[in-house]
């Protein structure tokens, strides 16, 4: 069988012209387009959709208050599909075709790493809202989540204060856990703590009886958990059935927030500590308004979490920088951003001029039987971001060949 080739060429031509026609008409002068690029499908969707929703809420609120520079913000939403190359492609599309003023997006480090060259090359702005492993500082990315010295190191300080000196490290097999554990090991060596074991499982792994056996046999004082996603469900279930309790062996997690607690099942995880910068229960006037507005828009049963709050903040911080710059032009916004300080749901945040991360307050919380998280410790004041851990002598050499 042979297809008539003129038809093939006709179809190709059709496809090609179709590609060309959807170029947008010139941007209307009373609107500012911004891109929202999160995974709306695939494994990460369950987490990233909530961040997207929080960003949409911020855009709504800003528009209701009169917009930015007298213009309305118009979100252009794209799906990163839990696939890193897709993030790079959609970022290019938002920048080149939609000509958005800024993009708010990403969750996994892999998606950020994939988008980084796109933003650097087009000199466009990405606002990244999730805690991450540090050792990065791109001039075209603003990081509104915590870097390691605002989450992992405070978490370790907390464990040390509690007298937990023998740790077991459990993580998913990708960049964030591996880099985090590298930092944890250096911290432990410098602070007289002992690492009894370090185990990784593939993302999405759900068979944890062997690992739980290893952990319980090592009898650590505490477990430092960097597992991500579904794996936590299986891990905590099997840990509980092995008889480990939050009292005898607390598991400190850095990737489990309010949203994930329901998925894991409160019964399995109640009593265990987590490290973040924000909880739904954080007591600030701005948070009361945020939680109320979020529930009013998306449903009373919804919860708010740290990455959602960081995404919500990102839109406000960018808008503030645009107001200060008087334009959405990228270099002007970058120049205006350092020093901007806003009272946000997590308290005061300030954009650091050197590395474009935020000053953030670290908070340790304990998961309550109602699924919310109660703060038990905080750093007292916002911590200066230090992605390369320059202020920590024990971390010298961790940044690697840069």
């Amino acid at each position: 069988m042979r297809i008539p080739r003129p038809l093939v060429s006709a179809m190709l031509l059709l496809a090609l012209t179709a590609c060309g026609t959807d170029a947008e008409s010139a941007a209307q002068s009373n609107e500012i387009k911004v891109g929202l690029l999160h995974s709306l499908s695939g494994t990460m969707a369950i987490s990233e959709v909530t961040v997207r929703d929080a960003e949409l809420l911020a855009i709504d609120e800003i528009n209701k208050a009169g917009g930015v520079l007298g213009k309305k913000l118009v979100p252009v939403v794209e799906d990163g599909a839990s696939d890193w190359p897709t993030f790079a492609e959609k970022a290019t599309k938002l920048i080149r075709q939609d000509k958005v003023a800024a993009v708010f997006g990403g969750w996994t480090s892999a998606s950020r790493k994939a988008m980084l060259p796109v933003f650097e090359r087009h000199k466009a702005l990405l606002w990244y809202p999730v805690q991450y492993e540090g050792l990065e500082s791109s001039p075209y990315i603003f990081y509104t989540g915590a870097t390691t010295n605002q989450q992992i190191i405070p978490g370790l300080d907390y464990l040390r204060e509690q007298g937990k000196k023998r740790l077991f490290l459990v993580g998913s097999d990708y960049v964030f856990p591996r880099t985090a554990n590298k930092i944890i090991k250096a911290y432990a060596a410098a602070n007289g703590m002992e690492i009894l074991g370090e185990e990784y499982t593939p993302l999405g792994h759900t068979e944890y009886s062997t690992l739980v056996n290893k952990v319980t046999q090592a009898r650590p004082d505490a477990v430092f958990n960097t597992l991500n996603g579904d794996s936590n469900v299986a891990f905590f279930k099997q840990l509980k059935s092995a008889g480990a309790t939050a009292e005898s062996m607390p598991v400190l997690s850095v990737s489990i927030a309010e949203e994930e607690v329901t998925g894991i099942g409160v019964d399995n995880i109640a009593g265990h500590p987590v490290a973040w910068n924000y909880y739904q229960t954080t007591e600030t006037p701005a948070n009361e308004a945020f939680v109320q507005a979020y529930k009013a828009k998306y449903g009373q049963d919804k919860v708010t979490s740290d990455p959602m709050e960081a995404g919500y903040n990102a839109v406000y911080l960018w808008a503030e920088a645009v107001r200060k710059a008087g334009t959405t032009e990228v270099e002007a916004v970058r120049k205006a951003a350092p020093g901007i300080a806003l009272e946000r749901p997590e308290g005061l945040v300030t954009i650091d001029g050197e590395n474009q991360h935020l000053y953030k307050t670290a908070r340790i919380g304990v998961i309550q039987p109602d699924g919310l998280i109660k703060q038990v410790w905080d750093s007292g004041e916002p911590i200066k971001p230090d992605p390369y851990l320059k202020g920590y002598p024990w971390a010298a050499g961790l940044a690697g060949a840069k």
Binding site: M1, R2, I3, P4, R5, P6, L7, V8, S9, M11, L12, L13, A15, L16, T17, A18, C19, G20, D22, A23, L40, S41, V77, E78, D79, A81, D83, W84, P85, T86, A88, E89, K90, T92, K93, R96, Q97, T108, S109, A110, K113, A114, L116, P117, V118, R121, E133, L135, D173, Y174, V175, R178, T179, K182, P202, L203, A399, G400, A401, K402
Partner: protein
């Protein structure tokens, strides 16, 4: 003796030959001249990506459509090609130092495996020969044992899964889940430059065109007939004294080589390679694309890859929230209305017109 009668035969042969090549030439002109002139650089880059997938699809069309070997693991070969190219690019940029991801993965000196990839000839050679060798080894083992049908498909799929686990686990060597990205230049050309990307597009389109012509020639040769015969009656071919395992291994290796070359071209075009691009899902997507285009015709396989690539982009841009359903619906629609794909549908329409 019959010289006077030779002329018309010759003329008709020339005519058939022209008639055969005109459509191809028309597509070539559209692809090589019209597309670079008409499309914005971003869209041209996307088309270059679809054409890379089309090269893999051409290989699947050969192995599955003509040879009956349903390979669900072409991503593995694509990945070997892509990673070879990525290693070369990372090493030229590191200029004797370490690639960026090794720094944050705790690797302090360049792994021995990486060293030879600093040489572009070696890297490009491995991009094609690596997949070919793997396919030859695998094919020899599998086809000699007369593993075929669903068992062969499952085996290739398992290979894709294993490859992903291997790449993710060896973060210091491969960049783990992140893969490798942030490439700056290829042979001294700035990859961010629109003219470099246009040049790359032309290279990809030309490679696809040449491979298509070569594969078509091959399929129409004695070897091609043998391949189809193996597909339709392997035992009979064996009784006739041929070695079906050899024919299949060669074909499988050819399709692997094409996938490897496609991977090597893909990396500078798209700017990233990661395990997500070569696991079970992307390997299946390519087979689906070939099915949609029509696996029995090589042009159908190529067309399918371009159509499905374009559909994915268009649907996901228009309906960010539910585009996967549309993509699935398109597949179901084509498969129910035209079980032999777009190419089959076109053939049917033409037959109806001729009758």
């Amino acid at each position: 003796m019959n010289r006077p009668r030779g002329m018309p035969v010759l003329r008709s042969r020339v005519l058939t030959s022209i008639r055969r090549h005109v459509p191809f030439a028309a597509v070539a002109v559209v692809a090589l001249v019209a597309a670079p002139l008409l499309l914005e650089p971003f869209r041209l880059g996307l088309l270059a990506k679809y054409l890379c997938y089309a090269i893999v699809a051409l290989g699947i069309g050969l192995a599955w459509g003509k040879g009956g070997m349903l390979t669900l693991g072409q991503g593995v070969f694509f990945g070997l090609g892509g990673y070879s190219m990525a290693m070369y690019l990372k090493l030229t940029e590191a200029e004797g130092g370490l690639p960026d991801f090794m720094g944050w993965s705790g690797v302090e000196e360049l792994p021995a495996l990486w060293a030879p990839f600093a040489n572009p000839v070696f890297a490009l050679g491995m991009a094609v020969l690596g997949p070919v060798l793997l396919a030859v080894v695998l094919g020899t083992l599998v086809f000699r044992q007369r593993v075929r049908g669903a068992y062969f498909a499952i085996l290739t799929q398992a290979l894709a899964a294993a490859m992903v686990i291997l790449l993710v686990g060896q973060q210091g060597l491969t960049g783990g889940t992140n893969g490798m990205t942030n490439f700056f230049e290829l042979f001294g050309q700035d990859l961010a430059d629109d003219s470099t990307q246009r040049g790359l597009y032309l290279v990809v389109a030309s490679v696809l065109g040449l491979l298509y012509l070569g594969t078509r020639q091959l399929v129409e040769s004695r070897y091609g007939r043998l391949l189809v015969a193996v597909r339709d009656g392997e035992d009979r071919v064996r009784f006739l004294g041929y070695d079906p395992a050899l024919v299949k291994t060669v074909t499988f290796a050819l399709s692997a080589g094409m996938a490897g070359l496609a991977g090597a071209l893909f990396v500078p075009v798209v700017g990233i390679i990661s395990p997500a691009l070569l696991g079970i899902v992307p390997s299946l997507e390519l087979v689906v694309a070939v099915a949609v285009g029509g696996r029995h015709a090589l042009a159908g396989a190529v067309l399918g890859a371009v159509v499905m690539g374009y559909a994915k982009t268009a649907f996901s841009e228009q309906f960010a929230d539910g585009w996967l359903y549309l993509q699935g619906a398109l597949f179901i629609l084509v498969m129910t209305l035209a079980p032999k794909g777009i190419a089959g549908l076109v053939g049917r329409l033409r037959n109806a017109r001729a009758a």
